[in-house]
Symmetry: C2
Subunit: 310 residues, 2 copies
């Protein structure tokens, strides 16, 4: 088990160049499809999930190259989900990361095909990243990805999100959607690499709980941003959830209650992290991630939250 307790100093340049190198472009491809793929992989977001996957892959012994493959895969799944979420038949967004959405520039069909190309490449990268692991780990990885991205995860969360107006619209249902949409990709960054170092049943329970708390916290922060930030601040079309009747905790219970909920989730995450470290020091990178990365996320919602103190 390698001792990697913090992000490698060169994480940003390593990830950016890996995202370009692994981008599924070919010499003679259709130019609009190429443009969306180059643009999407060349202008990533904050790379929160990819950073986490990179350090986790190294901590759990996948090796630097495989950790980069895993990080790229997680980022490609995420980028694909954004290309699709922004479509007219989903959120009908105009802006993403401060730029016009791909479908507005290159058409809906090209945006869909680019998402498929990214998902396809991500699957190959995950297969390669775990190719040297024993069969039992590889089968756990296959089942994990299947669960995370399918109807029990990302696809299911998005389907519930779109039909939210037809549901009971309680805070509980908002949480279920958030778990599918946000928790699933965090699971890939946190739990998938951990499989390579055979976590105990107790550690596995805490890891899964951590993904639930982080996923919900992340979504509450996003809900708050949709309500309280302008499109210019967030770089994506804001104030969408209300008109589209999409689940948004800040709209459902109010901004202050949502901020309280965010603080509570991060304290619950901190307790899960404490229990993990009580098992083994190798989990310390996760606590560091909460302090350094999640603090910035929560900081955006304009309030110093308990549970985030360094």
């Amino acid at each position: 088990m390698k001792e990697v307790q913090s992000l490698p100093a060169d994480w940003d340049s390593r990830l950016r160049s890996a995202l370009r190198d692994n981008c599924p472009v070919t010499a003679r491809m259709e130019p609009h499809l190429r443009a969306v793929l180059m643009d999407t992989t060349g202008h990533p977001g904050r790379l929160i999930r990819a950073r986490l996957a990179l350090v986790a892959g190294e901590v759990h012994g996948l090796g630097p190259a495989a950790a980069e493959q895993l990080a790229c895969a997680v980022e490609y799944y995420h980028a694909a989900s954004l290309l699709l979420d922004d479509l007219p038949c989903m959120d009908d967004a105009a802006l993403r990361r401060g730029r016009p959405c791909a479908h507005r520039v290159h058409g809906e069909a090209t945006a869909i095909l680019a998402a498929l190309a990214l998902i396809n490449r991500a699957n190959a990268l995950i297969g390669c990243a775990f190719a040297a692991q024993p069969a039992v780990v590889r089968l756990q990885v296959l089942a994990g990805v299947d669960g995370c991205l399918g109807p029990a995860g990302l696809v299911g969360g998005q389907a519930q999100d779109l039909r939210f107006a037809e549901s009971a619209r309680t805070a509980r249902e908002i949480g279920a959607v958030a778990q599918g949409k946000t928790g699933a990709l965090l699971w890939l960054s946190v739990c998938l690499p951990a499989l390579a170092s055979a976590p105990t049943a107790a550690e596995w329970r805490q890891l899964k709980a951590l993904c639930v708390y982080w996923g919900l916290a992340y979504q509450v922060a996003d809900d708050l941003a949709d309500v309280t930030e302008s499109t210019g601040e967030s770089g994506k079309t804001s104030n969408r959830d209300g008109p589209l009747r999409r689940p948004n905790l800040a709209l459902a219970v109010g901004v202050e209650a949502a901020q309280h909920r965010l603080g509570r989730l991060l304290r619950q995450a901190a307790r899960a992290l404490g229990r993990l470290e009580a098992h083994q020091e190798r989990w310390r990178y996760l606590a560091e991630f909460q302090r350094t990365v999640f603090a910035a996320v929560a900081g955006k919602v304009g309030r110093r939250l308990p549970g985030l103190a360094a």
Copy 2:
């Protein structure tokens, strides 16, 4: 190497029940998404690729369960591509397999999410089908699937198809689109299972050539059907290629010349099959497949074609 020279007698019921059993539905999923998934996997087409993958998987020693997983994966990729091709931003079709298209009944977003769920499950099934193979085979499988479904294969073919009006629109370009759209999925049925029994370089060349001939032949037959059959006969919206300015060889060179081309492709395929059998008898199932299955496909275009005699 098992001697399986013809389709198992129970292939139809085996495939239909495997398609239902592997369908990515969960207990508490969003009802529209569930409906599209159940409907798509419960009403498959002629299962040409799945039949081929099933017998190939058994011939090349994957075992019956893994051969079924592979066959389901190929069919799920195919079904996903149809769900997406039919969308308003692509072919804007109304009918598929004699029934209203999924997006017309359940909305575009649900059709897209169902396609993603099928692709996700197909990836897991292929991983499981080859999980017991040596690392070298598994890496070849990963690279093969990546190439087949990405910009060099299915996604790339579809992107060129949609922008065909902007291209030079020659018979050569029609062939390139057909290769991406149709040849790629045949490659998954023919070449992927063959990897498990270590084909020689000479055999591999013939297998790849066979996929090119079959892919082009299949697309020419489809082009002829679009031009010469009514929507009622084909079960999908016909006479679409002309108005949409999509590649169609029968429109480009005329029905008779396209029929000649189809005959020539099938004779080329027969020669590749002859060379394969000259290497080893284990390839005989492919020649039988051309005689029994491709004969029916070509028979649809209303002409007894040379190279198809039993």
